[in-house]
Symmetry: C2
Subunit: 319 residues, 2 copies
Amino acid sequence: VTIRNETEFIQNYLVPLTRGAAGTFGLKDDAAIIPVPDGHDLVVTTDAVASGTHFMPEQSPADIAWKAVAVNVSDLVAKGAKPVCYQMSVAFDNAPGNAWVESFVRGLDEVQSAFDLYLAGGDTDVRRGPLTITITAFGVVPTNRMIRRSTAQTGDKLYVSGTIGDSMNGLLMLQDPSAATKFGLSRDIEQSLINRYLRPQPRIELLAALREHASAAMDISDGLGQDLAKLAAASGVGAIMSKHRDRLPLVAHASDDYEILAAIPPGQANSFEAAARKAGVAVQCIGTLTETTAIQFLDSDGATLDVSLGGWDHFRDAR
Amino acid sequence: VTIRNETEFIQNYLVPLTRGAAGTFGLKDDAAIIPVPDGHDLVVTTDAVASGTHFMPEQSPADIAWKAVAVNVSDLVAKGAKPVCYQMSVAFDNAPGNAWVESFVRGLDEVQSAFDLYLAGGDTDVRRGPLTITITAFGVVPTNRMIRRSTAQTGDKLYVSGTIGDSMNGLLMLQDPSAATKFGLSRDIEQSLINRYLRPQPRIELLAALREHASAAMDISDGLGQDLAKLAAASGVGAIMSKHRDRLPLVAHASDDYEILAAIPPGQANSFEAAARKAGVAVQCIGTLTETTAIQFLDSDGATLDVSLGGWDHFRDAR
């Protein structure tokens, strides 16, 4: 069954996702009002996901919906912002069927519940071209407390949350069902790696620890090497990376992990680690920021490793 | 010449469009801060334009850029919101060349200057599929003063700004270069109609008059018939349309005009007309809102005309 028109899609499926928030006007107006509490800044980020580029067409609509919102939540969390709501622009290739829409809306409902945000408004189109979901997400942070990329200091310790590379391995296993057996991985591990790719988990539990301790932060979406280079360049510092030695070539390039990269002043490293432990999120120190702007990777003897920073560039790498 | 990478596109071409606004961080962070002055609500709207659906691929990049932003400004103005800034997500089919990007950025610069807003942030992708520009635009309105769709009252006078149908005629002339001669139109008139399609002019001069006098408003983008039906349904009223009699079948369906449809309480009609005249914008009363929810079109003898409300539905009409 194909949904008959935009109005049916919006009123029957999308309106419940507004959670009745006052500024959404039941999706019956041309615009929404985004609430900003006194003493707070409104933080906004935009990321689009397109079929064939950011997800595979055979993924479930629920997983696609989850990912579209989660990659934006990840940016908010890295900035110290508590998620509030989002605008969604969906471009369909065909008018979707009921089953597809029901799965898609279930994924939106799940990601909204997981990260406590609602749908504020948006736009729907049908045109030739890959299914594309463009999300602009809103979060709030106490005034002037957004965690930036450019404010890291020489001497700060570099931390990453979770594990880097899981998502890329999950994608590998989705693309090659024999890979897990080849590497001797159990079905449970295989599934958990695949889930890391399908349903990225922004580290919202780290919000308080980041706000309290980070001098700079960003999420790792394009690969640790490239994202670290961006943070270092924005802050005018370099880095010596001294962990992950044997896995470095993998770790520097792996994308889609949506873990946090944070610069923590050395005097606060212990309390940051304690706060992360209390929040139930594994973090590890992988390096130190330096005055020279070079980024160096050291092996266990302290010798320099030649590791390309790699990562994804849409203009260079797409198609 | 093709632009080498996303960073070059962003830093060389997009950064100047931020006008140095503090919350944009020179487009070097993962998020932006949208300023909201005390005593104001933040109004947000999202509209995407895609090649082949909302514009023709042979249009100049400057015109495409203008339209992408202007259709969002039109929504803000209809809500009584003063434009502030916008997020832009661009999905390219190919990495663009310098000449294309220079024209595109010139169009953005022009529309920004015309409506006094800046680029806050966004996202860039390259994937197979039509060039698509998704804009989320932000405006501000004094607290609780956003002009809604649902607050029109029985007895209110219905006004439209400008002329309806020009944009559709302009598109016709773009598609058929002999049309102007056929209809006996001068080159000047032909060009002005084409410009109505290529470069919609949101009625920002009406902002104060709308804030002061409108009980409800929206912009006319999908066709007067359909948009009026939406406003009436949201407000739980009907309408008797008594102007534009001979042109009604055209006027009800014509899309892409981005004029304003406003409900004005009868006691304020004169002062609204005076305020519009002072603002230099032609407005005309085309009907009256009624208690029954029907929408009637009357001819000059007061007999009912059979006019379909028409308009565009993406799920039904695309492709």
